[in-house]
């Protein structure tokens, strides 16, 4: 299995993914035009034809033996430049009077676009049959290797938006208490429009004055910054990398946005360059590979798990040994440089 940039011929594979993602995964609607526009944006970014901020790096996880697509993930280089990017921000405001002997600090939700200009990791999806062999971790972490390698292509901060709390019946208590009063549509429709990148209506319809959280229902308050139970492993993985919830929540479902300075992300900070030596044998099967390797070129970027640990020589330089099939998978030969990350 290896990661590579998406290509035009992946459109059918991508549609399969889109159909499998199902409701609630709004960034991959099963829509030919939308998906091929995404691919074109990605190609422009990887080929360096999009010099501005509207760069999307969309990766697929490919079974290199038959070319089938098992999953995907992406990085938006800079959110909010093309369409507005909104959050509610949980803040607090002191409320105090010496004479009334009153001193309380009340929580507020305020509409903002503070994350404009940050990078976003998004669109991670892994097909059912491939949820093994640390494929999920590969999709998640490959983005740190990519950002570390092309650090100057990204801003200071990165964020990830997490799905919020839903009841077993699929209702969002946060939406029902807040958004539903302001949007003349149901949650899924609002979510779908946002997924399609049509976000201007949020600023037009959402309440712009601060909302004091005590005015929300108990269930809605409890949902602020909380994730859907299916999303917990993903959040845990991001938190281990150093991403934190700083009070920003999704406009619709109240789910948290986690964030970090890119330089502080463990996967970025700890990755290093290593010189390749190739061994003339195939790698043994491994269920829990520990080292991830990525190539150092952009257009022909590849990444995968490898089986050997990284070693350091007397001069402090790093070396990594690849089996023949691993080198082939990544498209490297002895003496090439890889960016590696032990986990």
């Amino acid at each position: 299995m290896r990661i590579r940039p998406i290509a035009r011929h992946d459109i059918e594979g991508l549609k399969v993914l889109a159909r499998e993602t199902g409701v609630g995964f709004t960034s991959l609607p099963d829509n030919h035009e939308f998906l091929s526009a995404k691919i074109e944006r990605t190609l422009a970014a990887f080929e360096g034809r999009e010099p501005g901020d509207d760069r999307l790096y969309f990766f697929v996880l490919e079974d290199e033996r038959d070319g089938s697509i098992a999953g995907c993930c992406a990085i938006e280089a800079c959110v909010g430049t093309d369409a507005p990017f909104y959050h509610y921000r949980l803040g607090s405001l002191a409320h105090s009077s010496v004479q009334l002997d009153l001193h309380r600090t009340l929580d507020t939700l305020t509409l903002c676009s503070d994350h404009t200009g940050d990078a976003e990791v998004c669109s991670l999806f892994l097909r059912e049959g491939w949820r093994k062999d640390r494929n999920g971790a590969l999709l998640s972490k490959v983005r740190w290797l990519f950002m570390a390698q092309f650090r100057e292509a990204f801003p200071d901060k990165v964020l990830a938006e997490m799905r919020g709390v839903f009841t077993p019946e699929g209702r969002s208590p946060f939406w029902e208490c807040l958004g539903s009063h302001f949007f003349p549509m149901d949650f899924n429709e609002a979510d779908r429009l946002t997924g399609m990148g049509q976000k201007s209506f949020i600023g037009e319809l959402m309440p712009k004055f601060p909302i004091y959280t005590p005015f929300l229902s108990e269930q809605a308050r409890a949902a602020i910054g909380q994730v859907h139970e299916h999303t917990r492993p993903a959040v845990a993985m991001l938190k281990k990398e150093g991403l934190r919830w700083e009070g920003y929540v999704d406009i619709f479902d109240g789910g948290p946005t986690v964030e970090a300075y890119i330089d502080d992300v463990r996967g970025v900070r700890d990755s290093q360059l290593a010189c390749v030596e190739v061994i003339a044998s195939d790698a043994p099967a491994c269920e829990r590979p520990a080292v991830m390797a990525a190539t150092t070129g952009m257009a022909d970027f590849r990444a995968s798990w490898i089986s050997h640990a990284v070693t350091r020589d007397g001069a402090g330089a790093c070396h990594v040994r690849l089996h023949r099939d691993e080198a082939e998978r990544l498209g490297v030969t002895g003496g090439d440089t890889l960016r590696v990350l032990a986990s």
């Binding site: 209506f201 319809l205 601060p210 005015f215």
Partner: protein, 353 residues
Amino acid sequence: MLVVRPAESRDLLALERLAASATPRLTNLPAHRDRLEERITRSQRSLRAEIDFPGDEIYCFVLEDLDSGEVVGTASLRAEAGAREAYYTYRQETLIHASQQLNVRHEVQTLSLSHEVSDATLLCALSLDARYRETDADSLLRRARLMFIAQYPERFANELAVAFPGYLETRDERQVSPFWDSVGQHFFDRDFNDINQMAGVRSKSFIAEVMPPFPLYLPLLTPQARAAIGRENPRHEYAMQEMLAEGFSRSRHVDIFDAGPLLLAECERLHTFKQCGWHPVRIRPQESLPDAVPAMVANQRLGDFRCVLARYALTPTGQLMLTPQQAEVLGVEEGRAVLAVPMPLPAVDEGEL
């Protein structure tokens, strides 16, 4: 005979009793002796002062039942509602949230803290002995203030305001305000009665100024709180209907604590102002007075203002016939002019407003 006159020091105990029996308790009539004493003094000072423009005067009146010699009601006028400190209300507003993209236009109701009513003259602090409720005595006490304003317009604003106590629920044998529970409570963490009492003794504006200035979105209030907005306390329905009939109309403003309605009117729109007129007095024995509709009759004296309930018995030449007792209470002799207005008000159908 019933007469409305300015409060005097000797009325203090009666005022205290009336303040304590007001239902619901009135912020602007605290059952607090020092405050009431202060009010009487201030009222007397206001009546003595030469006034060209309304300011921080308060005029405090009492209703005396001369038959029993008892003071059975009180009501006040605050010449300028926000003269000393701003008079805060919540103002009902509508925000339009429109999306051209989705081609929708969505109206959202809000309440915004406002002190726009500060310049108006406020009719306030009315409390009446329960035995007289919803009788002519009730109307006399309420509307005698208009007779006073009609005579001394320079002392009052052209716009009059009257606030009615809001809707309360009884819970665990306590009166609670569903509006306060859903709004003020979040900011103050005190219950309605505590805050109401505090506001009476200290000041309401004091509290309003600590409240956040952001509009409250109505959809985020409890249904009970929303239902209470602009809804008068059932015990004040009669009074409210009377003021609507008098010519007041419901405004966008409601009380900041209990969301009770605030009625507004310009003087010249009021029935009493339009209908009242000066008439020379003709004194006749009680038994020789013709039958006529009840009327309010006021004398022409500032400090010794008196307004009694009499009959609108006019001679063909426009003289008003009063009994010797009435004339005495008013302090007028035959031939002196008094201000009189018939009591009955036109019917009002709120549905038409």
